[in-house]
């Protein structure tokens, strides 16, 4: 039996994951560090986020697309919050983090003319994430559950509730 080796010889053949890492790793680190305040933990979060991106790379647009950037950052944020919660339980977190902060700074003053966009920003972080993964990236509920740390049933219900909430908010206007 023979086993074959190959080397990457052509630098232009960078993979999507490689480009995503080059473009966003530092931004991912800073987002994670703003939650965890620890270099090692933040790097671990970045690595875990990249592994997850690798798993779903076929569902992502091109690396330079903003939706790809959003996905890797949001994934990093969610992983960082999970690490934060575990450490908080073990009393290892010295600096508190406001979990209602979605990590993007103040998003309450959106200036868009689109009513639907404004209402999306009024959803909770979880509701928004579920809708993003389902409608922007085409994730199924099993994949959503894996990304957000909930069961597939909970993901389905969250998507349904979020959508109903949006429709209700639009009608109230």
């Amino acid at each position: 039996m023979l086993i074959f080796l190959a080397t990457i010889e052509d630098e232009t053949e960078k993979t999507k994951i490689e480009t995503i890492y080059e473009l966003y790793a530092e931004r991912m680190f800073h987002l994670s560090f703003s939650i965890l305040h620890n270099n090692e933990d933040a790097e671990d979060a970045v690595q875990t986020a990249m592994v997850r991106a690798c798993k779903h790379v076929k569902k992502l647009q091109e690396p330079y697309d903003k939706s790809t950037m959003w996905y890797v950052l949001e994934t990093t944020k969610n992983i960082s919050i999970d690490i934060y919660r575990k450490k908080k339980m073990m009393r290892e977190m010295e600096r508190p983090f406001d979990e209602s902060n979605d990590g993007y700074g103040s998003v309450s003053q959106i200036s868009s003319d689109n009513k639907l966009v404004k209402k999306i920003m009024e959803l909770s972080v979880n509701e928004r994430d579920v809708l993003m993964l389902k409608y922007v990236y085409g994730f199924n509920y099993s994949e959503i559950s894996e990304n957000l740390g909930m069961s597939a049933v909970a993901a389905r219900k969250a998507a349904q509730r979020a959508r109903e909430k949006l429709e209700r908010l639009l009608k109230e206007e």
Binding site: M1, L2, I3, F4, L5, A6, T7, I8, E9, T15, K16, I17, E18, Y21, A25, E26, R27, F29, H30, L31, F33, N39, E40, E43, D44, V46, Q47, M50, V51, C54, K55, V57, K58, K66, S67, M69, W70, L73, D102, Y104, G105, S106, V107, I110, S112, N114, L116, V117, I120, M121, R128, L131, M132, Y135, V136, R163, L166, E167, L170
Partner: protein, 223 residues
């Protein structure tokens, strides 16, 4: 509200959120450990799992054993035949060359004997200076393939991409390893990890993750 309207609004919301991100004030240099792990992840994504190669290799072995009753030997003629066979099947998926590196490490010490379940019998073992393959089969014909190959950090393993394979980072005795699983329960899963001397080890079998990790850890401890 249609799905398309919702999608477009979600994309606009994403753009808005991204525009709120603060500027990066200070450059962060990732630690050597994370850079190494990311390099490996990128390589693994570039060349998925050995799945098709190993699967094809098993097919070659099975055919050779069934048709000729003889074990495929490492003579020049047989080597040329197998190289050609692989090239014909995998040329469209990536670059391949036959090779290995010089090393004083004796990889012949590796074996799954005594580790794999007794329902499996070894049906073939081939080893050379830089590679080792063992094949086991149970009474139902389910195969387990164990491979060891010498490698260096600069070399990338040619792993033919297969869209149905999922990859996950796991641990083998504290070392980072990769577990590859197929969507089908009738197909094999695989685990790969690197030994302390740079050798790359892999086990492919119709087994679950825990069983593969357990076997890998036993191999890793036994060397």
């Amino acid at each position: 509200m249609t799905d398309m309207q919702l999608k477009n609004a979600l994309l606009e919301a994403q753009e808005y959120m991204l525009n709120q991100l603060p500027k990066i004030e200070e450059h962060h240099e990732f630690s050597p450990g994370i850079q190494r792990r990311m390099k490996r992840l990128i390589r693994l994504e570039r060349y998925a799992v050995w799945y098709r190669i190993i699967k094809a290799a098993v097919a070659v072995m099975a055919i050779s054993i069934i048709l000729s009753g003889m074990i495929l030997a490492f003579n020049d003629e047989a080597r040329a035949y197998v190289v050609k066979w692989f090239e014909n099947h995998f040329a469209e998926n990536g670059y391949m060359y036959q090779g290995g590196i010089e090393s004083n490490m004796d990889i012949s010490i590796y074996t799954l004997d005594g580790i794999i379940s007794q329902e499996y019998q070894r049906i073939n073992r081939q080893d050379s200076n830089d590679s080792l393959v063992e094949a086991y089969a149970d009474e139902n014909g389910r195969m387990t393939i164990f491979t060891v190959m010498l490698s260096s950090e600069e070399e990338v393993f040619n792993i033919v991409a297969d869209e149905s394979i999922n990859c996950e980072t796991v641990s083998v005795n504290g070392k980072q390893a990769t577990y590859y699983s197929s969507d089908s329960t009738d197909e094999s899963n695989a685990i790969t990890w690197q030994g302390n001397n740079g050798e790359l080890l892999s086990i492919r079998a119709i087994m679950d993750k825990e069983s593969l990790i357990k076997m890998a850890e036993a191999v890793d401890k036994k060397r």
